[in-house]
Symmetry: C2
């Protein structure tokens, strides 16, 4: 299954170029397992689905150091039928969609509870798009149940849902939503915004 993201960083600061460039080393631990391509609009990350959100977390936390108001936006996708299958995107073993939804919710909650703390509070906003046939609404409702019990649920808004909390728990919650719900072979996309250090506190 092809999986990856188009990722952009927006540091609201005059020296945004330096901030972005100095945060890129946060991706170094992931480079061997990812294809990474940058242009003027975004950086493509293609690689193992279970490492996409940890990579984005480390990148965003690095760019948000020193209390910079910094937003990460990502267009995340798995199973896009227009994309070639790629061995570097193979999911890890044991992510079994045969497991009943209730059990997957519990597994996801356990993983979020064990997420490392990053010491950086973030607010996130996501829209989850299950595309094509084969995405049972049970899967979507299971994901919503998980998000509401994740400990970082914010609120429902028009067109999206918000999460709030430590970057560790928020990105872990996003990753579990991406990996464990929706049709296993289906096309699933997420429109994701994560904000740190906003002066407009919720």
């Amino acid at each position: 299954m092809f999986s990856g993201a188009q990722v952009s960083l927006y540091p609201m600061a005059d020296d945004f170029v330096r901030i972005i460039l100095s945060s890129l080393s946060a991706l170094d631990p992931y480079r061997a397992r990812f294809r990474i391509e940058t242009d003027d609009l975004s950086t493509l990350l293609v690689g193992p689905p279970q490492e996409i959100f940890p990579a984005m977390r480390d990148l965003h936390v690095a760019a948000s150091r020193n209390n910079v108001h910094c937003v990460l936006h990502a267009t995340v996708s798995r199973g896009c039928p227009g994309e070639p299958d790629d061995p570097i995107c193979t999911p890890i073993a044991g992510r079994d969609f045969g497991t009943p939804i209730a059990a997957r919710v519990e597994e996801a909650l356990a993983n979020v509870a064990g997420a490392p703390s990053c010491g950086q509070v973030v607010a996130a906003q996501l829209s989850l798009y299950p595309l094509g046939a084969g995405h049972h609404m049970d899967e979507i409702y299971g994901c919503i149940d998980f998000l509401k019990r994740s400990g970082v649920f914010g609120k429902s808004k028009n067109f999206c849902t918000t999460l709030r909390g430590d970057a560790g728990a928020v990105f872990a919650t996003l990753s579990e939503a991406f990996l464990r719900f929706g049709s296993p072979a289906g096309h699933l996309a997420i429109d994701l915004t994560v904000s740190a250090n906003s002066p407009s506190k919720a």
Copy 2:
């Protein structure tokens, strides 16, 4: 049909708060016909589908004055089944999906050719998501044909397509894609990024 967008502005400058606040007057001509709600992550615009992209264009051009590198991100939606129908979202008359696709492509191209110039070059990146049943692939292919002939087509990337040109033509192209293609009553969402004055020219 419920239509609207969650819109965010990201000026890459120390005085981002002043830039954002001083650009909001660009929405004044639209306020009477829109419901507008702001929190720390985005601003909700709910209103007539044919005015969503002009409103976002005017907002983004205003915030990009004085050569500020400024990005607008929007989660745009029409026909979301979870949203109440709303009289302010009623499409204008004459947008008839009974018209053959080839004729709609020509109408869209004519509208883009007549778009006003804004004097601001932008780069845009969009992912278009037709959700649920009823979106014939013919509609999607028709939209892609239109984008490629729009005069502002950039390139195809993983997970998205880019456009480049004057903000007038780019936002007009986006608006036509949103209004004229996909199932008329179906749920259609766009994950949109528009960037002005990037120091990383393509």
